[in-house]
């Protein structure tokens, strides 16, 4: 009953506040601060944050439903919310000191500031050890130099978490995550990327030039970077999988509706078996993806390992999202290829779910490693 109500509540909000503008946000590549303003008191920025820090303290299935429902209307805003919650806030909650949690989490949970996690660089992404952003320890902290690219929420975040190494010869053992506050000298934001989809999310590069970060902003210990990144990405994948399901759901619903309206040969095209087959497959795939997402959520809440299941959910949901949105365009024919119809946006938005938070190839790597070690 709670999950049904969460779905209804988020759907009502998303359809009313994002529905009328989602198309224009994509066209204009505009981040809707006015909607963020309304999301703040409803706890969208502290979905799983404990009450004492001002969050909603939701279970993981409620979290996934929330991301799914926002993404069903606007993939780009679903992205903002999931990235903020999963890879922006979660690492501080999980690995932060009490002081770090007290200092940063209430402001993040209230939505006063938006978070981001920066791993990808020109020569590093799937290969986290290839990171070149470098941190040198000083008497009172660290000096960071480097460039992060394709940072989701990059243009609007005020508290990015930066993955850097202190020794490029020993990247794995020297990897660190730093909490960088906006306004820190040497930290600057690059131009907003001109991307295929998710255009309302200001994805950008972040530059660190002799950026001095106090020692108390190191998350965990020196060398914890890989551990933090992997745990963060496991959680992040749940959100991206939920986002992929939401986009696919929207494309599926649009296809059902359109197929009943569109007449060819004096019949609605939904009466043709070729269309029916597509709709049937879409329904099954979206549902299967959704169930994989809910399973990993249940595992996470039960305190069980969920890395493999998160990768499975993310791999399958993103594949389904791309394929369902592709077929949605096909059902819509020429109109589906037009920006006049939302399926064109869903089609562009879906693709990146196969790329970020670990490409499908990396998910297969994670899954195969796990199954090879589990089974004799």
């Amino acid at each position: 009953m709670k999950h049904k109500l969460v779905r209804k509540a988020v759907r009502e909000f998303s359809e009313a506040e994002l529905g009328p503008i989602a198309h224009d946000l994509d066209r204009d590549a505009r981040f809707p601060w006015e909607v963020v303003e309304k999301m703040r008191p409803l706890n969208f920025f502290g979905l799983q944050v404990p009450r004492k820090y001002g969050g909603a303290d939701l279970d993981s299935i409620s979290y996934a439903i929330t991301i799914e429902e926002i993404s069903r209307v606007s993939g780009a805003m679903g992205l903002c919310v999931t990235v903020h919650n999963s890879v922006g806030v979660y690492p501080i909650l999980k690995f932060g000191t009490e002081d770090q949690r007290d200092r940063f989490v209430p402001r993040l949970a209230s939505g006063e500031i938006i978070g981001a996690f920066c791993l990808t660089e020109a020569n590093a992404g799937s290969d986290a050890a290839g990171v070149e952003t470098h941190a040198v320890q000083t008497r009172d902290g660290y000096v960071i130099n480097g460039t992060k690219i394709f940072v989701t929420n990059g243009g609007v975040c005020s508290l990015p978490l930066i993955f850097a190494v202190t020794d490029t010869a020993e990247p794995t053992r020297s990897a660190c995550v730093f909490i960088v506050e906006s306004g820190t000298p040497g930290y600057s934001v690059g131009e907003i990327e001109d991307l295929c989809g998710m255009r309302a999310n200001p994805v950008s590069s972040l530059f660190f030039e002799d950026c001095r970060v106090p020692g108390e902003n190191l998350l965990g210990k020196t060398g914890d970077g890989i551990k933090i990144a992997l745990a963060t990405l496991d959680t992040g994948r749940i959100g991206i999988a939920a986002q992929a399901v939401g986009i696919a759901q929207a494309a599926f619903e649009a296809s059902v509706k359109y197929s009943k309206e569109r007449q060819q040969f004096r019949k609605p095209i939904s009466s043709f078996q070729s269309i029916q087959n597509m709709l049937a497959d879409m329904a099954v795939e979206v549902d299967a993806a959704r169930l994989l997402v809910y399973r990993v959520c249940a595992l996470k809440d039960a305190g069980k390992p969920f890395g493999k299941e998160a990768a499975m959910a993310k791999l399958y949901a993103s594949t389904v999202s791309t394929s369902v949105t592709g077929r949605a365009v096909q059902v819509h024919g020429g109109y589906g290829y037009s920006k006049e119809y939302d399926v064109e946006r869903y089609f562009r938005d879906a693709k990146v779910t196969e790329i970020y938070e670990g490409t499908s190839e990396i998910q297969r790597l994670v899954i195969s490693r796990s199954v090879l070690s589990e089974l004799m």
Binding site: M1, L5, V6, A9, P41, R51
Partner: protein, 275 residues
Amino acid sequence: MVKMIVCIKQVPMATELPWDAHTGTLRRDLAEGMMNPACKHALEAALTMRHLHGGHVTAVTMGPPMAEEVLREAIAMGADRCLMLSDPALAGADTTVTSFALARAIEIFCPDFDLILTGCHTTDSETAQVGPQLAEELNIPGIAYVDEMEVRDRSIRVRRFSDNFLETLETDLPCLLTVNTLHHSPRYVPLSGLQDAFGEVNLLTVKASDLGIDPESVGIKGSPTKILNVFAPRAEKENIVLKGAPKKIVEEIFERFDTKISGIIKKDIKREGQG
């Protein structure tokens, strides 16, 4: 401080209205439920009132066990406590016995109220009767279709919109108001509220036997209203082709359709023609 009761009803979502073709009734078991929109406006009015004057808000519903969902939603929005009236004996109740059962439940479990708010009508049956009948049952003043309200000491001044008239009325508390959907746009449900609504909450569920009423006098057995059939109205169109000279055709149109034309232009064309 205003002690309020808000009666809310779970109705099927407007997008889902599965009808049973044989019985002519709504298959509530198949439809996804939601809080009736006007009830949500009434709840919002109560929460606003509490914000202005203090007090507390009790949400009350009668329905099958699944209707508990609207009470949880009410708590998520800010209601302080809930009363659920659920019993198979109450199933199929018409508006008369619904008001009767609600009144007995309120008398027993929350008798100390200043103000009862209900929605002005529901989207499923659209009778708009339960609110006014409940006021009768409790023998308190009732005002329907209210959009603005202002508590002044032990009285309340309200504005109501009915039959294209705006009226300002005043009555003593306790009273009952049915709230329309012109004002009091409901707040969004905060996610922390939903989490709370499924924690420790003050939700009391009662049965018909807890009300000391004869089960035969309520539910479908006790309801004087019997729904014989529900059907979608059929609109039939007839195409008439008039032939001949234009003057003759125009005369014939006026001849055949004088009443309808008079109705549309709001003038009696026969009398006008004679005059």
